[in-house]
């Protein structure tokens, strides 16, 4: 019986797709033409705007999204990002973002996408069935009648042998691409086609989201872990797609759950990193997701004991279904990888870890869930504060604890000339991106040997900063002797968010003896605070009332800026610099949830957090002697 029903549905599906198909090609071409026409019309700001969005989004079309209670689909995801309310599953509360996003990309797991028999084959016997013509009839009465008959026939049974004659997969992938296109409006809201390659050898996370700049020459099937669990093979697939005219990049994430494998100093076959490896890795994956629901992997207190802010939303687990703690810190956190990258580069092996950063979500329920006071969880079942906080009924407590330790989603900020696929993708490739833990604070970061001390006093300083220097993601190399690099940094709070506490510059380098070092500079402080002789700053304070889940902007600043010269610069040493902006403390999602449930916030979770932003670094490379 099951087969019979499937056959009928497939029959109809085939005929529908067929009829759609004849128009499809021309439709697609038209859309593309329209878009390119429109993208010319979209005004550009050469000094760039920050566009916020997410590219790591699952829905029920990812199998684990479905099994964990998501009731939404890619179409819902895009609607959510644009501000519509969508079904939430869980306790039934709809999902709705407070302030819409600028761009979004659904990136389902590739692993179970190619599940269906190909239905668009013009030779398919399905298309010949008379019922197919009737059901797609323009005459509504006729169509409805046919529809009813089919439903009826399902119950009687119909021969189904044809099913096994059709070949190949009509994958969900094509459908995902189409849905994304429907929601792409250049200048207003941008979408991308994307999928996730889900490799996790022995539950060590090596996942990558693969994102396409546009749908021209896009491969007809994504690449999955069933094809290969090695990142090098994914890059081969990407190179091949590029050779065939596609434009794409990959974004790895959750080094924290990789137990040292994400930024290992060897390749997948345990061979030393070569220059070719580094170049291939960087050509294919310019960005790293530094924060998401499964925690932040910027820095770990064990690796950076002098960083008082390193222990932010650490999610210290592997992907094992049975709670398992990773053992290797090294190779799991980005700051350490930045340092290791310099070391490799110094050795002549290239820098395989020269990543720009974004923040992202990894939601499996369409909504990236970035707002701390509007957190709805990672999976559909978590769309219920009781489940998030007290645990999923029937689920063991260690697993529930993992859910409680989930962070809210992060955001990717992209500095681009316009909100179009082309402009956003180019900015991602040149790493002119920043990450936030979900807040929409904006951070500018420029470096140069040539900036004047008065640069930032001019209203037009951004223009001059571009002209005489490089933005985040850029490179500096040796200038005239005795000059130190100068950095211009500016941060402004999210319009409806919390004030800013401070701006920090984090510097890493390889010293004369070949050892890696890091140092954190507090370069701008709110409320007129100053650093002491050793560079430390007094804490900003904390206005959070945990029992009421409130805070006030009585402390902190609306914006902060600084022009900073590296006081310890050595022109012979490889170095990187990146910016971290901290907000004043605000309630964690779990504190808002406790308030909602009328219970005390849990003692085993922080009641408040300092949300933050991270810029992509600017690297300094000495000119070879």
């Amino acid at each position: 019986m099951r087969h019979l029903l499937t056959t009928i549905l497939l029959t109809l599906g085939a005929s529908f797709l067929l009829s759609a198909c004849s128009n499809e090609n021309t439709d697609q071409k038209n859309t593309q033409k329209d878009q390119s026409k429109k993208s010319v019309e979209v005004p550009k700001n050469p000094l760039k705007e920050a566009y916020f969005g997410n590219l790591h989004i699952h829905t029920s079309w990812s199998f684990d999204g479905f099994t964990n209670g998501s009731v939404t689909e890619p179409d819902d995801a895009y609607r959510w990002a644009k501000g519509e309310a969508i079904p939430g599953g869980g306790d039934g509360t709809p999902l709705k973002i407070k302030v819409p996003l600028d761009w979004y990309a659904v990136s389902e797991h590739a692993e179970y996408m190619g599940v269906f028999k190909k239905m668009e084959d013009p030779n398919s016997p399905f298309s010949k069935l008379p019922i197919a013509k009737r059901i797609t009839s323009d005459d509504q009465a006729e169509a409805t009648q046919a529809f009813a008959e089919v439903l009826d026939e399902m119950n009687k049974g119909i021969p189904q042998d044809e099913l096994n004659d059709t070949e190949l997969a009509q994958s969900l992938w094509q459908e995902i691409i189409k849905i994304g296109d429907k929601h792409n409006e250049p200048g207003k809201f941008t979408t991308f086609s994307a999928f996730e390659w889900t490799s996790a050898p022995n539950n060590r996370n090596l996942h990558r989201v693969v994102l396409f700049a546009n749908n021209e020459n896009i491969p007809q099937l994504p690449y999955s872990v069933f094809d290969s669990p090695k990142p090098e093979d994914l890059w081969k697939y990407m190179e091949n797609a590029r050779k065939n005219g596609a434009t794409l990049l990959a974004v790895p994430h959750n080094g924290n759950a990789s137990d040292g494998m994400m930024f290992e100093m060897v390749d997948s076959d345990d061979q030393p990193i070569t220059k070719a490896y580094s170049e291939s890795r960087m050509r294919n994956e310019p960005l790293y997701e530094i924060t998401q629901i499964k925690g932040t992997s910027e820095a770990h207190p064990d690796l950076s004991p002098n960083d008082e802010f390193a222990g932010f939303e650490i999610w210290d687990y592997t992907l094992s279904a049975i709670t398992e703690r990773p053992k290797n810190r090294k190779g799991s956190y980005l700051r350490e990888a930045y340092k290791d990258g310099l070391k490799l580069e110094k050795k002549g092996a290239g820098n395989p870890f020269k990543y720009g950063v974004i923040g992202d979500s990894d939601t499996h329920n369409s909504a990236s869930s970035i707002e701390e006071d509007n957190y709805t969880g990672k999976f559909g079942m978590e769309n219920d504060p009781k489940h998030r906080l007290n645990g999923i009924p029937g689920s063991p407590d260690p697993l529930n604890q993992q859910i409680r330790e989930f962070s809210s989603g992060g955001l990717a900020g992209i500095w681009a000339e316009s909100n179009t696929r082309e402009a956003l993708f180019e900015a991602m490739m040149r790493k002119e991106t920043f990450a936030t833990s979900g807040t929409r604070l904006k951070v500018r970061f420029f470096g140069s040997f040539e900036y004047s001390k008065e640069l930032m006093e001019d209203n037009n300083w951004v223009k001059m900063a571009y002209e005489k220097g490089v933005p985040m993601g850029g490179d500096l190399s040796a200038a005239a002797s005795n000059k130190s690099p100068i950095f211009a940094v500016h941060a402004i709070k999210e319009a409806n968010g919390a004030n800013l506490d401070r701006i920090q510059i984090i510097k890493g380098w390889v010293d004369q003896s070949g050892k890696t070092q890091e140092k954190i500079y507090n370069i701008a402080l709110s409320d007129g605070r100053t650093v002491d002789a050793s560079g430390n700053a007094p804490a900003v304070g904390n206005t959070v009332d945990a029992s009421k889940a409130t805070y006030t902007n009585d402390i902190g600043d609306t914006e902060l800026k600084a022009l900073w010269t590296d006081p310890e610069f050595d022109a012979n040493l490889h170095a990187f610099y990146y910016v971290r902006v901290l907000e004043i403390p605000t309630p964690r999602w779990s504190t808002y949830d406790a308030k909602k449930l009328g219970i005390e916030p849990r003692k085993d979770l922080p009641t408040s957090i300092q949300e933050r932003g991270w810029s992509s670094p600017i690297w300094y490379t000495p000119t070879s002697k």
Binding site: R2, L5, T6, L9, L12, G13, F16, L17, F63, F66, V71, E73, D75, G83, P87, G89, V99, Y112, G114, I135, D138, A143, T144, F147, L151, M154, N155, E167, L168, A169, S171, K182, H183, P201, N202, P219, L221, P222, Y223, D227, P229, K230, Y237, A241, N244, M261, E264, D267, S268, H490, I492, K493, E494, A495, N496, G497, N553, D557, T558, E559
Partner: protein
Amino acid sequence: MKRIIQEPLIHFLLSGVIIFCIYSWSANETDKHRKIIIDDAQLAHLSGIWELQWKRPPSQKELQKLIEEYVEQEVYYREALNMNLDHDDEVIKRRLSQKMRFLSNTFSTLADPPTDERLKAYLRENEEQYQRPPTYSFLQVPFTYDHHSNPEEVANKLLQQHKTSKQEDHLVHTGDPLFIPKEFVAADTIQINKTMGGAIVTSLSDAPLGQWFGPIQSGLGYHLIYIKEKTPATLPDFHDIRNQLERDYVYDTEKMGRKMIYEKFKENYDIIITSDQYQELLGDISLQHTAQ
């Protein structure tokens, strides 16, 4: 990456082999003659999938590997079926139920194709949703807590001093440095809210044109504002939003179609509840379908 070899899956498969050995002793004679046939069609299928990914046919070596993988999967799959490992497997149940929903999706769009006529009716029913938001061209002068303990008062004073002036450039050079545009040109309310937050958007709607007013509180501070031009919300022409209408119409129709298909399927079943506890649990259990 030797850990790949340590995959629990491998361990699982090894235990599977052991079970298989035990099982094969007890299996009857005919089972040993089952066939896995690689015919032209199967080969074309395997290399077709490959081509979808790589845009070229597989090499001989690659094809060989694809066949090996296929055979391996098929062997395990059939052995698993033989051992009834598919029975009551929650993952398989969910997978098939998900597949059925996917098919229903395709199916449900067939019922009411989006003709112009239907889309026009749809637009009439949902006019509000398609209104283009109002736009404003205005100047803003900010006053923030970063520079004053009471920015509202500072702004108010300045406004009083210039009360008589109708010239926009009188105030525009005052205020605090703040890294947002001094001038917005035909910006829509969504954009203005993203940049400034607070009460800005609601204050703009009934504010006067061509004169300074305020201070208005945004998420960033207080502002004196001079509106040069405003365009009210407008309903775009049908043809300009036809694509959008079609997208939304199909989305809504699919939802309804899915619901209908589920109801139809459900009619095939008698749902019989024999549980004694059912009455107790009634408050928590819903037999309503969850398809959205």
